[in-house]
């Protein structure tokens, strides 16, 4: 188990280093010269040389990369080229808002999706199961751009129930501002989870030990909650972990639609300004977050499911 954990961590590290290398190659090598991109076509030569020297672009590429990795390893993501603020600070400042949005979205999707998925599996092919199946299938693939805009149109523009934009101030107000974006972000996920839980549970229901429980007269709700959920949940954790990437990705769009400051908004504004160090920093932070999530998920699965554990 420990060995397995270490191996997963090493693999995660390898993925991150490769990702860093790819991003570095992409941003610093392919388009030629970030300095000229940042300064625009009308900058004079002296400016460009000065900026190149400041960003270390006049050094050989391997040296640049080594320096880049060295700085990264101590958590230094470089400086904003416009305001000279450290990027790690900028990201740390907006990260809580993004994490709150992501986990609120995932949270409600889990709270709704897991029980509903269980219920559907226990009442297979009932009209309730079919209805939930159709609705979840329809919502799970809808792009978050559409969901966000429709939610905004319905609840904020037409009905005026919820505040549409911004972060809010004070705990209650912040919660009200979080509600609509989180609902939007989690909707597709709820559908996804319902399907994952349902199919995983259906598989478990066919096993022999379930028949034995039933033969002993264990009541269905107790059977579902006490004995089945634990086995059912492992594939669901895998689905959630793999989906963390797309969840963050959708959070970017949601933050822009609802004008919430966050890592997506920060990166988007940076892209518009052609402020690449910030974009790179944001992508890396998100990648680290994803890798951590997937390692945690794999370890959780191994600790929950004895079959996986014994196969290690």
């Amino acid at each position: 188990m420990v060995w397995y954990g270490l191996r997963r961590i090493a693999h995660g590290g390898l993925v991150l280093v490769t990702a860093v290398g790819m991003m570095f190659w992409f941003i610093y090598v392919v388009p030629g010269d970030p300095a000229s991109v940042i300064l625009g076509p009308r900058a004079d030569e002296a400016h460009r040389v000065a900026l190149r020297a400041e960003m270390g672009l006049d050094k050989p590429i391997p040296l640049q990369f080594a320096r880049f990795v060295e700085r990264l390893s101590v958590g230094d993501l470089g400086k904003d080229v416009v305001t000279q603020e450290p990027i790690a600070g900028l990201i740390a400042h907006v990260l809580p808002a993004t994490l709150a949005l992501t986990f609120a979205g995932l949270g409600w999707a889990l709270i709704v999706g897991v029980p509903l998925g269980c219920w559907c599996a226990m009442h297979r092919n009932s009209w309730g199961d079919r209805l939930v199946g159709v609705v979840s299938m329809a919502t799970l693939a809808l792009p978050s751009t559409i969901l966000g805009i429709y939610a905004l149109l319905l609840f904020a523009v037409t009905l005026h129930w919820l505040p549409a934009i911004g972060l809010g101030s004070g705990v209650g107000d912040e919660f009200r501002h979080l509600l609509l974006p989180a609902l939007t972000l989690g909707l597709g996920w709820a559908g996804y989870l319902i399907r994952a839980v349902r199919s995983s549970m259906l598989e478990v229901l066919q096993e022999n030990h379930v028949r034995t429980f039933r033969a002993f007269g264990v009541p269905e709700p107790r059977l579902a909650l006490r004995y089945l959920l634990k086995i059912t949940i492992a594939p669901v954790i895998a689905v959630v972990a793999i989906g963390m990437g797309s969840l963050l990705s959708n959070a970017v769009i949601i933050e822009i639609i609802f004008l919430r400051p966050g890592i997506g908004r920060l990166a988007y504004d940076a892209v518009l300004q052609r402020n690449f160090p910030i974009v790179l920093g944001a992508v890396l932070v998100a990648a680290v977050f994803y890798v951590i999530c997937s390692i945690v998920a794999e370890l959780l699965i191994a600790s929950l499911d004895p079959r996986v554990r014994s196969a290690l």
């Binding site: 693999h11 991150l16 693939a141 559409i146 990437g245 963050l248 690449f276 990648a287």
Partner: protein, 296 residues
């Protein structure tokens, strides 16, 4: 008599495609899926003949016009007819879907079969590449790429390809590993078939069914990438109409003219539901392992 012999034959079975279509039409999900997909694909193919107006024609008098008999779905901030722009946009979006998914499928499947067949180093390197791609947040990465190599539909297609390759790679590799151990492959190899021949003639055709299902399910993802990037202004360049750029226009005027955003979302909803349901129905009729189970 020679013809008598022919007459004695059994009636010829209908071609596989027609059988498949009939099979799809027999389920409710299949009917909904096929109808929506045919509607969208029809719009994309017949675009120049069915648009009521030139999609880029500006008519200031119809600025932000609500739906009416002249403009069935209303007009945008420059007075361009929304229905025409949606139909025109479907051609653009479907082109991205066809090119993006096609290229990703070709690369992902080829690499997957090669990796699964036993070329370990290639497989490991490609798997690492796929893990890296999966770890990157797609929208942020797409924004970064768009700002570096420029905005446009080429960039959107590139992003689609890069993010879909891992999906097809993984499935193709896992399936190949399984198929390689099956008896008919062993038999083919025992008869002296080369690795290339086994991969092309015996393994690839067996992957097609599963891939068709995956492709149908992935179309909404592609539409979502286009919609997201164009919505953020890093995809289609104006005045080109795509579903994403229509959403962008609608979002900008969401308070003055909410009908633009509302109408712009409709084709995306239809296409998403259509392709998802079609994929589901295809899975039921193509994948022999899915059993429908007894109905209670």
């Amino acid at each position: 008599m020679i013809t008598a012999h022919d007459d004695a034959r059994e009636p010829r079975p209908a071609p596989a495609l027609i059988l498949l279509a009939r099979n799809l039409w027999s389920s409710a999900a299949g009917r909904v899926g096929l109808s929506c997909v045919l509607l969208i694909v029809g719009c994309a193919l017949l675009d120049p003949w069915i648009v009521p107006y030139d999609p880029n024609a500006i008519d200031v008098s119809a600025r932000l016009a609500a739906p009416s008999f002249q403009h069935w779905l209303g007009a945008d901030q420059l007075g361009r007819d929304l229905l025409s722009r949606i139909i025109d946009g479907s051609r653009v979006v479907m082109s991205i879907v066809v090119i993006g998914v096609g290229v990703a499928l070709a690369i992902g499947m080829a690499a997957g079969v090669i990796a699964g067949y036993g070329f370990r180093t290639v497989g490991a390197m490609f798997a690492l590449f796929c893990d890296v791609i999966r770890s990157l947040p797609m929208m942020l990465f797409a924004l970064a790429v768009a700002s570096l190599i420029g905005t446009g539909l080429g960039t959107v297609t590139l992003i689609v390809i890069v993010f879909l390759i891992p999906v097809y790679f993984r499935i193709a590799r896992n399936q190949t590993v399984v198929l390689k151990q099956s008896e008919y492959v062993t038999a083919a190899r025992a008869m002296g078939a080369s690795s290339l021949r086994v991969m092309l003639k015996h393994i690839l055709p067996n992957l097609i069914g599963q891939m068709v299902v995956l492709v149908a399910m992935d179309v909404p993802t592609v539409i979502g990438i286009e919609a997201g990037l164009s919505f953020l202004g890093e995809g289609a360049r104006p005045p080109l109409a795509t579903w994403g750029s229509l959403l962008r226009d609608g979002f900008a005027f969401i308070r003055e003219a909410p009908h633009i955003a509302m109408v712009a979302g409709v084709p995306i909803v239809i296409a998403t539901i259509g392709f998802t349901f079609l994929g589901e129905a295809l899975r039921d009729s193509l994948d022999p392992r899915v059993t429908r189970g007894p109905r209670h």
